[in-house]
Structure formats: structure tokens, C-alpha cells
């Protein structure tokens, strides 16, 4: 098949492209989740007014932007070095390590069940971004070498509070839902609470997380 080259309206910055997403939004490609979070914090601190700033695994979406060209020039003048990494609050999450996939993770890692718990409680995680469901934080901090595949066919029902791994991400299901992450255990922590004084999400982007044995 003749695959013609595709016109791209994205302009290249030192790090990645800035891509128009319709007339009122810009998608900024960055090197990874940590850089996405730092850029999102920087945008929110004031240089650009927009409705929503959504960091993700390797992009930041700026939605509800009045002037795309201006937004582009502001973003292109940013460099990760300027930003001071914001160290958020540390939240400790007690976990009952009795998940259905604990043995599977032990096999994948070639370690004992206790060592899986030891590794998981030994990492410091950071909430990078939220998606999938309100309050579902994608946590980085697991070494890439310990990345695991999702289940081939997702479970129809994963209980609220389930703590799981997928690739090198760790996540906690705020509500019961279908899901394909490998489950290590469960927590009684409430991930999403509209009446929480500090905001509904227990783990907004930037929050540091330590898991402890319940």
C-alpha cells in the first residue's frame, strides 16, 4: 500500500511535539510521567490560563486554551530544568497482602511471596496522573525491570481498595470496577471522597506514597 507521509501540524520542541487537539486544546509530548507532572504543575502555577491541565504517561493536555499559538510558545520556552520538583505530601497506605495475583507476581519476579511484599513496601511511589476513574492514581516508583503484564482477559469485578500492578505502574481501585491489573492486596483507605477537606482525591498528582503491611 502506498503510505503517503502524513502532514503533521505539530512543531518540534527540544523534548517533543506540541500537537493541536482541535481548535481549543494542545497536547504536549514530554519524556515521561514525571516530566508531565512537573510541566502540569508549572502551567497551573500561572503562565497560561486554561480549563483543564491533564498530565498523563508521556503527555500533558492543555484543554480550553484561547490562543493555541501563544500556548505553544509558552510551552516551548519551558524546560524541565527550570522547574523545581514539587515534593507532595507523603501518604502511607496500609495493605492486606492477600491479592489473587500475589503468587503470579512472585513467579514473574522469581522471588518468594514475602519478597514481593518486601519489594512493594520498599519502594517510594509518586502519583503521576489520574485516569480510568475518579481518584485512580497511576503511581510510578517501581523499577522498570519489575514491570509486569496485565491479565490477558480483565476481571469483570475488581473490589474497591484493590492494590495492583500493570507494567511498571502501581494503582489502587477507588471503586469496584472491571480491571486487568495484577492484584497484590487490598486497602481500607478511601481513595475518593467528595467530602474530604483537602480535595476528593487521596492521591492527587505529586503525592508520595508508601505502602505498609496492615
Amino acid at each position: 500500500m502506498d503510505r503517503r507521509s502524513v502532514h503533521s501540524d505539530g512543531s518540534r520542541t527540544r523534548r517533543g511535539r506540541t500537537l493541536a487537539v482541535g481548535p481549543h486544546a494542545l497536547l504536549v509530548e514530554v519524556s515521561g510521567a514525571d516530566e508531565a507532572r512537573v510541566l502540569a504543575d508549572w502551567i497551573r502555577a500561572g503562565p497560561l490560563v486554561c480549563d483543564d491541565v491533564v498530565p498523563a504517561a508521556s503527555t500533558v493536555l492543555l484543554d480550553g486554551v484561547a490562543d493555541l499559538d501563544r500556548a505553544r510558545s509558552i510551552v516551548e520556552n519551558w524546560s524541565p530544568e527550570q522547574a523545581v520538583a514539587q515534593h507532595g505530601a507523603l501518604v502511607r497506605i496500609p495493605v492486606h497482602y492477600d491479592g489473587e495475583d500475589l503468587g503470579r507476581v512472585a513467579d514473574l519476579w522469581g522471588v518468594s511471596l514475602d519478597e514481593v511484599v518486601g519489594r512493594h513496601t520498599g519502594c517510594e511511589f509518586v502519583s503521576s496522573f489520574t485516569g480510568f476513574a475518579p481518584g485512580f492514581a497511576y503511581l510510578t516508583g517501581l523499577p522498570p525491570a519489575w514491570a509486569v503484564s496485565r491479565l490477558e482477559s480483565p476481571r469483570a469485578h475488581v473490589p474497591a481498595g484493590s492494590v495492583g500492578l500493570a507494567d511498571a505502574w502501581c494503582g489502587i481501585y477507588p471503586t469496584s470496577s472491571p480491571g486487568g491489573w495484577l492484584l497484590l492486596g487490598r486497602t481500607d483507605a478511601v481513595l475518593w471522597d467528595l467530602d474530604r477537606s483537602g480535595g476528593p482525591a487521596l492521591l492527587p498528582p505529586g503525592t508520595r506514597v508508601r505502602f505498609v503491611v496492615a
Binding site: M1, R3, R4, V6, H7, S8, D9, G10, L19, A20, V21, G22, P23, H24, A25, L27, A40, D51, D52, V53, V54, P55, A56, A57, S58, T59, V60, L61, D63, G64, F129, T130, G131, F132, A133, P134, G135, F136, Y138, L194, G199, P200, A201, P204, P205
Partner: protein, 277 residues
């Protein structure tokens, strides 16, 4: 002042302009799908344009006014009766206390908007009174017997112009951030698609010739209202107000915001021609 719901219809929700600023926590924007019709209804009854209204889905809604009430029905065309008498859509109607208002099934389009004098005054959640059907945030879907409080009514404004007819049979698209995932760059331009039956407030699902694209998924990335995503099946989805905040299928195009109302009122089986602008 309040109304009591008699028959909630298949899906009637409270909606306002939606919940911006929470996408980074995974909260969908929600809000009325056909903004022009909803704001028009509010103006007719003398509400602020952003007041919360009722949004029906195909089947209408009926309720009793607990006190004298002015209401207006806009959007999808339907029969409306007040205390048993036929009344007009697109204009304010005042009824006495105890009158039953019946908003009939949609005769054309999908969603009718019922503005109530004073606006629906249920408590706001994260700054909005909109029901998000994806994550379940905001006021409950209407149920029989539910009582909805209303705010303080303003002065009705019967002289107003309804939104122009937005049904052109065309959806205008902007090139999306992942248009380079298309194997045929111009595949969408001029293509014709049919609205699928499982379309809802999350997205308008289109059926037709599969869009050929690179295999695989992206890292999850932020999604905008109107994003046209192409999953593995090749059948495009146009995301509407209850869309997930992030997703991993490539967004190959973005709907022009002017055509959102046409999507809100499109019935299964309706055909659209896509046009890149």
C-alpha cells in the same frame, strides 16, 4: 418551590454547563449535550443561562409542579401537555400548583431540555449540578417520586429566537493529534457513517467502513470533548460530555465544537458524512 417526578422516562438527568477543572483527577466534565437548546430553555423562563435543567433521552419525563411554575421545553421536538392540555415547545408556559406536566417521547432528535423557573437547585458537586453517567458524580438520575428543589424564579422572556436547525448531515472534523496513525491519511474525509444504537452521553459511536490504522495502543493521554478515537475495531467514537479523561486509543480527529449539538440529537441509524476542515 419544587417539582415531584411522576415518570422519569428511560434516562432523565439534571445538567448544567458541566464540571471543568477536575479532569486531572479523573472527573469527566459532564454537562448538557445540546448547549444551545438548554440555554435557550433557560432564557425563556427567565433563568440565568447556566441554570440547571432536565435533559431527557428519547422517552420524555413527567412531573407535578408543587406550586405555580413557569417551564419551557426545547431541543428534541415532542408533545407537551400541562394539566392535560397541549402546550407549545420553545416558549414559556406557566401552570398552577398541582398541575402535571408531561413531556412526551422525542419525535425528532434525542434530548429535550426542560427549564424550570428558578432552575433545579439540587446541591452542586465539585461546582456543578450535572450528572456524569460515566463515573456517577453529581445528582442522581431522576426516579419516580423524587422531589427536586427549584431556585428563585426570574421573569420569563417569551420573545427569543430558537437555535437554528443544526442537522446538516455533516460532521466537521479537525485533524487530530494522532492522525499519523491512519494508514490512509484522508480516509475520514467524505466518508459516510451511521450512528450506532449503543451511543450515549459518553460517546457517539459510528458504524461503517473500518478506519485502517496502525495496530496497538498509545500510552494513556488526556482526551478532549469531541475527540474522535479509533479503537482496534476501526469503528470511530466521537466523545461527548461524559467521556473518560484519559485514553489509549489514537485520537485521529477532533469534532468542530459547532457540531456537538448535532451529535447530541443524532438517533441510531442516522447517517453523517465526515468532512475535514
Amino acid at each position: 418551590m419544587s417539582i415531584r417526578v411522576i415518570d422519569p422516562g428511560p434516562l432523565t438527568t439534571v445538567q448544567d454547563g458541566g464540571r471543568l477543572g477536575w479532569a486531572h483527577l479523573g472527573v469527566p466534565r459532564a454537562g448538557w449535550l445540546d448547549a444551545d437548546s438548554a440555554k435557550f430553555a433557560n432564557r425563556l423562563v427567565g433563568n440565568a443561562e447556566g441554570a440547571a435543567v432536565l435533559e431527557t433521552t428519547y422517552g420524555g419525563v413527567s412531573f407535578v409542579a408543587q406550586r405555580a411554575l413557569t417551564f419551557a421545553v426545547t431541543g428534541a421536538r415532542c408533545r407537551v401537555t400541562a394539566a392535560g392540555r397541549a402546550v407549545s415547545g420553545d416558549e414559556p408556559v406557566t401552570v398552577r400548583a398541582g398541575a402535571e406536566v408531561v413531556v412526551g417521547p422525542a419525535l425528532a432528535g434525542v434530548r429535550s431540555y426542560v427549564a424550570l423557573g428558578g432552575g433545579v437547585a439540587v446541591p452542586a458537586v465539585l461546582g456543578s449540578r450535572s450528572r456524569d453517567t460515566l463515573a456517577g458524580i453529581g445528582p442522581e438520575v431522576l426516579r419516580s417520586g423524587a422531589v427536586l428543589a427549584l431556585g428563585v424564579a426570574g421573569r420569563p422572556a417569551p420573545l427569543d429566537v430558537p437555535p437554528r436547525d443544526r442537522r446538516s448531515g455533516v460532521l466537521r472534523l479537525h485533524r487530530g493529534p494522532r492522525a499519523d496513525w491512519l494508514l490512509e491519511p484522508d480516509a475520514l474525509h467524505g466518508a459516510s457513517y451511521t450512528v450506532a444504537a449503543d451511543s450515549n452521553r459518553v460517546g457517539l459511536r459510528l458504524e461503517g467502513r473500518p478506519v485502517l490504522r496502525r495496530a496497538g495502543e498509545l500510552d494513556s493521554e488526556g482526551i478532549v470533548l469531541g475527540a474522535v478515537q479509533v479503537p482496534g475495531s476501526g469503528q470511530p467514537v466521537v466523545f461527548l460530555h461524559d467521556h473518560p479523561t484519559t485514553g489509549g486509543y489514537p485520537v485521529v480527529a477532533v469534532l468542530d465544537p459547532q457540531d456537538l449539538a448535532a451529535c447530541a440529537q443524532a438517533r441510531p441509524g442516522e447517517r453523517f458524512t465526515l468532512r475535514l476542515v
